[in-house]
Symmetry: C2
């Protein structure tokens, strides 16, 4: 077996779940710290499992602040979602010197492509919800309160429109401010004040359970909202 002779991945074999993946490794590749495994937006040409070192997935906002959305340790698949989606929604970069095992794309993507319709739909849901999670990590980690609320409103607009439940300029949102605060990681008091700020800038109106986006482009700019993360093939 290939990995048996290689860079200290023997310990990984202790982990039951990693074994089938390790068997699929056809080649190894090493990166020095700060080198990229893949850039945000690229289409992966091969899948990787981390064999040694620390690697991270990350996204950065325009103000330059970077959020590490996942830290990867040996045994972890680095770019699984990227492979299944066909493109990387975040960059992947070595934090220390790393060795990766390369797995041909087909091995990862094909089995799932040949599934019955229902199984594929479920996988789609999983990837979709995972993309939303990553984006929320970025929000909670790096966006301001104003941006977090704005981003939430933009996200819901997109998601509801996709199922025909939003108009072009808003949707029904019968939640309490307390619930908005639990979504965005702030207190209800601060949500209240942040909403006033959004209203003050004529970006949204929220009345009787209906949220109106008064200036969607401006709102999306404020939130640094880019809907591509929601597009899972």
């Amino acid at each position: 077996m290939f990995v048996g002779q290689s860079s200290g991945s023997s310990a990984l074999l202790a982990r039951q779940a990693a074994r089938p993946v390790l068997r699929a490794v056809v080649r190894e590749r090493a990166l020095d710290p700060d080198q990229n495994l893949i850039l945000q937006g690229e289409a992966p040409q091969v899948a990787h499992i981390l064999l040694s070192g620390y690697t991270c997935r990350h996204r950065t906002l325009m103000n330059g602040r970077r959020q590490i959305t996942a830290i990867l340790v040996p045994g972890d698949m680095c770019d699984l979602e990227a492979v299944l989606r066909g493109w990387a929604d975040s960059g992947i970069t070595a934090l220390t010197r790393c060795v990766f095992g390369e797995i041909p794309l087909e091995q990862v993507a094909d089995p799932l492509r040949q599934e019955p319709e229902l199984a594929r739909a479920l996988l789609h849901q999983l990837l979709y919800q995972k993309a939303i999670d990553s984006e929320r990590v970025l929000s909670l980690g790096q966006r301001t309160a104003l941006q977090r609320l704005a981003h939430l409103f933009c996200e819901l607009q997109e998601r509801l429109q996709a199922v025909g439940l939003a108009e072009e300029d808003g949707y029904s949102l019968p939640l309490t401010q307390m619930e908005l605060s639990e979504l965005t990681g702030m207190t209800n008091v601060h949500v209240n004040r942040t909403l006033q700020a959004l209203r003050g800038q004529n970006l949204v109106r929220w009345h009787r359970g209906r949220l109106s986006l008064l200036d969607r482009p401006a709102l999306e700019r404020l939130a640094e909202f880019d809907p591509t993360y929601l597009r899972v093939p």
Copy 2:
């Protein structure tokens, strides 16, 4: 078809990806606001797709603060991960009046159980990384800086131990404070001060790229770290 005659889910059909799931619905179920679809820790008996209303997944810390880890809109599977894992790692509760479509467990779990070994391993990875994401949302949304760092250290201890790369009381962590700050959503300066606090309480030591957990039980208590989220079957 069943759903055709039912509670306004016709709009959902617009969404290509939801169709196979809607076809699998065998029954409907409604919940009023604040009623639970499933409690944290329970084993799901049936899978649900949301047909109308807003629902959320959430987890709460001991101080009573609750983080909504996902907001679900019509067309979303509510408890997919819970079904695939066999138990719910977060509660699921209706935010408004909701109607759900019920899908027999077997339909969701079986297709994936019968996959070849590699595909199952990949699905395992996906669920594992998703569980980590949700926990990070909870951390970033509700834990203090001290808790966030402590939680990260506990999580890495568990994950590295699972692959044989940590001792009982610590592990190699050759990162910069800047990188820790990008993981935990704070500034490098604040990481520095927070580390001093952890050191001051004799909870950790970090020297020459090795992190030592001096009092793991106390650290886990501080972070409200519960490793069960990492256990994906």
